[in-house]
């Protein structure tokens, strides 16, 4: 079967052609003035510099694990800016660019991967849920949250929030992501599913997960869907905004497959040389999302100064996080027993006390 190419307006060489987008996306593309695009570029760039430094921190023994987002910054930044601050986002675990834009201190992501916490931030402060490690489980949480928005709307018709949920091509094989679409369609939730098809689920290529393009499956659930070039920040923004507006205006769930590439390893524990074709990798590096936007911005007259200043800012930003991470100690022992329940529980309380007494029994009396 031959399928059409993913929707794109900014090609790998940095050529912008809005006419390649369907008419309904044009108004959103028109929102993208130079200032906005410079902002997108800055967020993509800073995230990448931070991301690379986090990989180094892992190699230097400062992190147990790192999960690189490199190569996937465009769709993430676009979706983050397309959403309203009161729209609720459920990430998987690679959405560092969105987290940053939502006001999460990336230091808190590092605290998680250093082994200091299972969470890291207060989702309600950012309308950005904590990362979920069990593949696809959070897709149902997103749908449930969106069902709640519908119930809120029954009481107050002015409620027009939406939910966005992110997961990978591998996750599309899980029952939970499919059940999430079934519930979403059934309850007509104000929700946008975003699959970042980065071609891999660890070492397994997307062709093992699906023989049809992933976005086509959504249509079988009765969910409108699109496939876009996820390395094109402009089309990603336009479609994310369009889909969010459809969802919040009663159109029910929407589905976006963003075709992109995981430029780094799956995680710092992975070795892509065992499965990745170097030619394929080289081709995808040519389609890098940051590179193409830089070419475009320069062609639009953005000066060298902007890029050098941004580079300095990004490095300083990453260095600041690095310094704080290295200074970070271990969490208090008692935190292990806290928040297992939100209310008093005899078992956790007794065990917390037991461990404290046990530890204290080793302290030398002077």
């Amino acid at each position: 079967m031959e399928y059409p190419e993913p929707l794109s307006v900014l090609d790998a060489q940095g050529n912008y052609d809005p006419n390649r987008a369907p008419a309904e996306l044009r108004p959103y593309l028109d929102e993208l003035g130079l200032d906005k695009l410079k902002q997108f570029f800055a967020d993509m760039y800073i995230t990448r510099v931070f991301d690379k430094d986090a990989s180094n921190l892992q190699r230097q023994g400062q992190l147990g694990l790192w999960i690189p987002s490199q190569g996937q910054e465009a769709v993430q930044v676009a979706a983050a800016y397309a959403s309203r601050p009161d729209d609720y986002i459920f990430p998987a675990y690679r959405e560092h660019a969105i987290a940053r834009i939502r006001g999460i201190d990336p230091f808190d992501i590092l605290r998680w991967l250093r082994g200091n916490t299972h969470g890291g931030w207060d989702p309600k402060k950012h309308n950005f849920h904590i990362y979920t490690v069990v593949i696809g489980a959070h897709a149902l949480h997103a749908t449930g949250y969106a069902m709640g928005i519908n119930l809120d709307r029954e009481k107050d018709p002015s409620v027009d929030k939406a939910v966005m949920v992110f997961y990978g091509d591998g996750a599309t094989s899980q029952g939970d992501t499919n059940e999430a679409m079934i519930f979403a369609a059934s309850y007509k939730t104000p929700q946008v599913f975003v699959v970042q098809n980065n071609q891999w689920a660890i070492s397994v290529p997307v062709t093992v997960q699906s023989k049809t393009p992933i976005y086509l499956r959504a249509q079988g659930f009765g969910i409108p869907s699109w496939q876009i070039d996820g390395n094109d920040v402009m089309v990603s923004y336009a479609l994310a905004k369009h889909a969010l507006n459809s969802a919040r205006n009663g159109g029910g769930p929407q589905f976006i497959e963003a075709v992109t590439y995981r430029q780094g390893a799956h995680t710092s524990s992975d070795d892509p040389t065992k499965y990745e074709d170097p030619e394929m990798r080289a081709e995808w590096l040519e389609k890098d999302p940051i590179k193409r936007l830089e070419i475009y911005l320069r062609a639009q007259g953005v000066e060298e100064e902007f890029f050098t200043a941004l580079d300095a800012e990004a490095k300083e930003y990453a260095a600041g996080i690095r310094a704080r991470l290295i200074a970070l100690g271990a969490p208090e022992t008692s935190t292990m027993f806290r928040n297992v329940y939100s209310e008093y529980h005899p078992v956790t309380e007794a065990q917390e006390k037991w461990l404290a007494d046990y530890e204290a029994s080793f302290e030398v009396e002077i």
Partner: protein, 324 residues
């Protein structure tokens, strides 16, 4: 005061909770129009509407997973799992998400979700409809488990479970759904996680939950005619376990028999036996004995009477305890 079967006491408890707090929602398969396969939610859709009594798609993981999302958005979902043996498609959502999210959120959120599970045998049904899966969930930190044995407890405990800010699994003794009892509609008799004395006695303490309490009371009646006095404890809370009344009773009787429908291996009964042995060693005149289902798959209905502990099996253990 009102005389109600356990099933209808739960209905009344759900109705009271939904009336009190409009964030309380019911979700499950066939619970709306039909009122549930056991009719526990009968009439509630008509009263509260389809948005608060949801006939969900047929997907248990979906039910619990979306309930989690609803709870994160401020709602208080009460999910019905149609039968004990069908909870396993939701096992992942219950154990990796529901049980752990409060901990992961570090104080930034909690999960007020109740999962209602009609459980246990004695109804002669096909496979997957007669099981007692409590131990899987009792083993998981972050969950609380309770099980009523009377109509009054059913009415109050479902409301207390809904008021809990943490996830509660509510195991309903389906074989006793139609057993009537007095319900006092004014004030709850006990707190949710309390074990109570169902019948006072002197010689041996017998302990169980849900439908088993009825078997224990029957055994106590039979024992009395032989001059043996059993103290029957209704566990009520399976996690956490309320040890004080158990230890108090054992310090009086010196003997404990724990009974359950579930297989005995790595079970609630094993846990209680171990803890009572640790904490009341010098009060015990006999080892703590367990009476359980056998460690086999729940058998075909024609054999269930031999699988499920009855009063005679309880009394056999009582005799052994007394022989020490």
């Amino acid at each position: 005061m009102s005389n109600l079967p356990i099933a209808k006491a739960i209905t009344a408890g759900l109705e009271a909770a939904m009336t009190k707090d409009d964030r309380v929602l019911l979700m499950g398969e066939d619970i709306g129009q039909l009122g549930g396969v056991f009719r526990v939610t009968e009439g509630l859709k008509a009263k509260f509407g389809a948005s608060r009594v949801m006939d969900t798609p047929l997907a248990e993981s979906g039910i619990i997973g979306t309930a989690i999302g609803l709870a994160l958005n401020g709602y208080r979902p009460v999910c019905e799992i149609q039968f004990d043996g069908f909870i396993f498609p939701a096992f992942n959502q219950i154990t990796t998400q529901l049980a752990k999210l409060t901990n992961r959120l570090e104080g930034a959120g909690n999960l007020p979700i109740v999962i209602r599970v009609p459980y246990g045998g004695h109804i002669g049904a096909v496979e997957h409809h007669q099981e007692s899966p409590e131990a899987y969930f009792a083993h998981t930190p972050g969950l609380k488990l309770v099980s009523p044995s009377t109509a009054n407890d059913a009415y109050w405990m479902i409301q207390q479970a809904i008021e809990s800010n943490d996830p509660v699994m509510f195991f309903e003794p389906k074989s006793k759904y139609w057993t009537k009892g007095e319900v006092s509609l004014n004030t709850p008799t006990h707190q949710l996680h309390k074990t109570v004395v169902a019948r006072e006695g002197e010689h041996v303490t017998v302990l169980g939950h849900g439908a088993m309490v009825h078997v224990l009371l029957q055994a106590a009646g039979l024992a009395q005619s032989e001059g043996i006095s059993l103290e029957v404890l209704d566990l009520r809370s399976l996690s956490p376990i309320d040890y004080l009344p158990i230890l108090r009773s054992v310090s009086k009787t010196g003997r404990l028999v724990v009974a359950q429908e579930a297989p005995g291996f790595v079970s609630i009964g094993s846990e209680i036996a171990a803890t009572v042995t640790e904490q009341a060693f010098y009060s015990l005149d006999a080892p703590v004995l367990r009476v359980s289902g056998f460690d086999v798959p729940f058998p075909p209905a024609k054999l269930e009477k031999l699988y499920l502990p009855d009063a005679d099996r309880v009394l056999e253990a009582v005799d052994r305890a007394l022989a020490f």
